[in-house]
């Protein structure tokens, strides 16, 4: 009976950044977070975050009164100390290579680096909090019959190669991070899963959803901590 291997990234997850005066200087009149110093999300399984669909919310907790915020967040009188503003995700927030960028509301930047309605000009000691959700390519399921090979990439890294979802003759890969020296244990576990007589269903190679890490019992001793997913591009 067919088994289905399931991979899900660590979601939901959140991370906060306290803005420094150096940040404020570096980000004058450009997208905040886009140069010199970054708001980089780390520790959520190893894969880059490259899609805005993975962002559930971005909030800014103001350290002090600030009038340089978008008109949609105030009646032109700004925010007060401690006020929490939820940013509009469509216009003023982007993420690439796990680096969060927020357009300022004011300054001399170009139209692409400024949004008077939905931007937010950060000040020192403001706290930016990003919360991540399931989004583009954060979870996937493949039949065991589509598994083409499992190869070691490093002592703590193993690659699962599957027939591509989208195109024949290509492969989609999951590069799984695990404890050192666990390659043979992983291939043994996958072989046991494939040969098992238990009823069909999904087998959680790694499931970082719903606030906890769930791994199939056969793989539980492998120290799996995350994965990088590389499917054939485009939809």
């Amino acid at each position: 009976m067919e088994k289905y291997l399931y991979f899900r990234k660590f979601r939901p997850a959140s991370q906060s950044f306290t803005i420094t005066s150096t940040n404020v200087t570096n980000w004058a009149n450009i997208d905040q977070g886009s140069a010199t110093s970054f708001m980089e999300v780390v520790g959520v399984g190893g894969d880059d975050i490259d899609s805005d669909t993975e962002i559930a919310s971005v909030t800014v907790t103001s350290a002090a009164s600030n009038t340089n915020v978008g008109t949609n967040y105030s009646d032109n009188d700004g925010v007060i100390a401690g006020e929490v503003t939820t940013l509009d995700l469509g216009d003023a927030v982007d993420i690439t290579d796990s680096k969060l960028r927020i357009e300022p509301a004011s300054g001399s930047g170009s139209g692409a680096n400024k949004d008077a309605a939905n931007g937010y000009t950060l000040a020192a000691d403001d706290i930016v909090t990003v919360t991540l959700q399931q989004g583009l390519e954060t979870c996937a399921m493949y039949p065991v019959s589509g598994l083409m090979s499992i190869t070691p990439a490093a002592t703590g890294s193993t690659v699962f190669n599957f027939k591509s979802l989208k195109a024949n003759g290509t492969i989609d890969t999951f590069t799984v991070a695990h404890a050192d020296g666990k390659y043979e244990e992983i291939v043994n576990a996958i072989n046991a899963i494939q040969m098992g007589k238990d009823k069909g269903g999904i087998v959680k190679v790694i499931d970082g959803g719903e606030g906890g890490l769930v791994i199939d019992a056969g793989l539980a001793g492998c120290g799996i901590t995350g994965f990088v997913y590389a499917p054939t591009a485009s939809y």
Binding site: Y4, T53, A140, N168, G169, G200, G201, G209
Partner: protein, 119 residues
């Protein structure tokens, strides 16, 4: 047709136009992937053998990707011995005539819309 599960998808049309509905043998399933917080896409090897595969893009309840995958896996692997009916993964038709055939289940209820694209 061999003795295996056949998986049925139908959007909200009346099963009278191309890509209103489709059925695949379970063995042609290539996998599924999330494309946003409310979308899960299922891919099947194209019936015509095209280089690209057929895609069923399903709108689902937010964050229910794992639940939908789990239910899909259960449906796709259930024993069909001594039955004639195929397996409804999702049938979003609401007003088909009663003589339409063996479609007697709505399938996975977390799927609320779909777009069927064949290569």
């Amino acid at each position: 047709m061999e003795n295996e599960n056949y998986l049925f998808f139908a959007d909200g049309g009346d099963n009278d136009q191309a890509n209103d509905a489709i059925m695949f043998p379970a063995s042609r399933f290539h996998g599924a992937v999330s494309t946003d917080n409310t979308t899960l896409e299922f891919f099947f090897k194209d019936a015509a053998g095209a280089n690209s595969n057929d895609d069923i893009s399903c709108t689902i309840t937010a964050d229910k990707h794992e639940a939908v995958c789990n239910e899909f896996a259960s449906l796709a692997t259930r024993t069909k011995t001594n039955t004639n009916n195929f397996t409804v993964i999702s049938d979003l038709n609401g007003g088909l005539p009663s003589n339409e055939g063996p479609i007697s289940a709505v399938g996975i209820t977390a799927i609320t819309a779909m777009t069927i694209t064949t290569a």
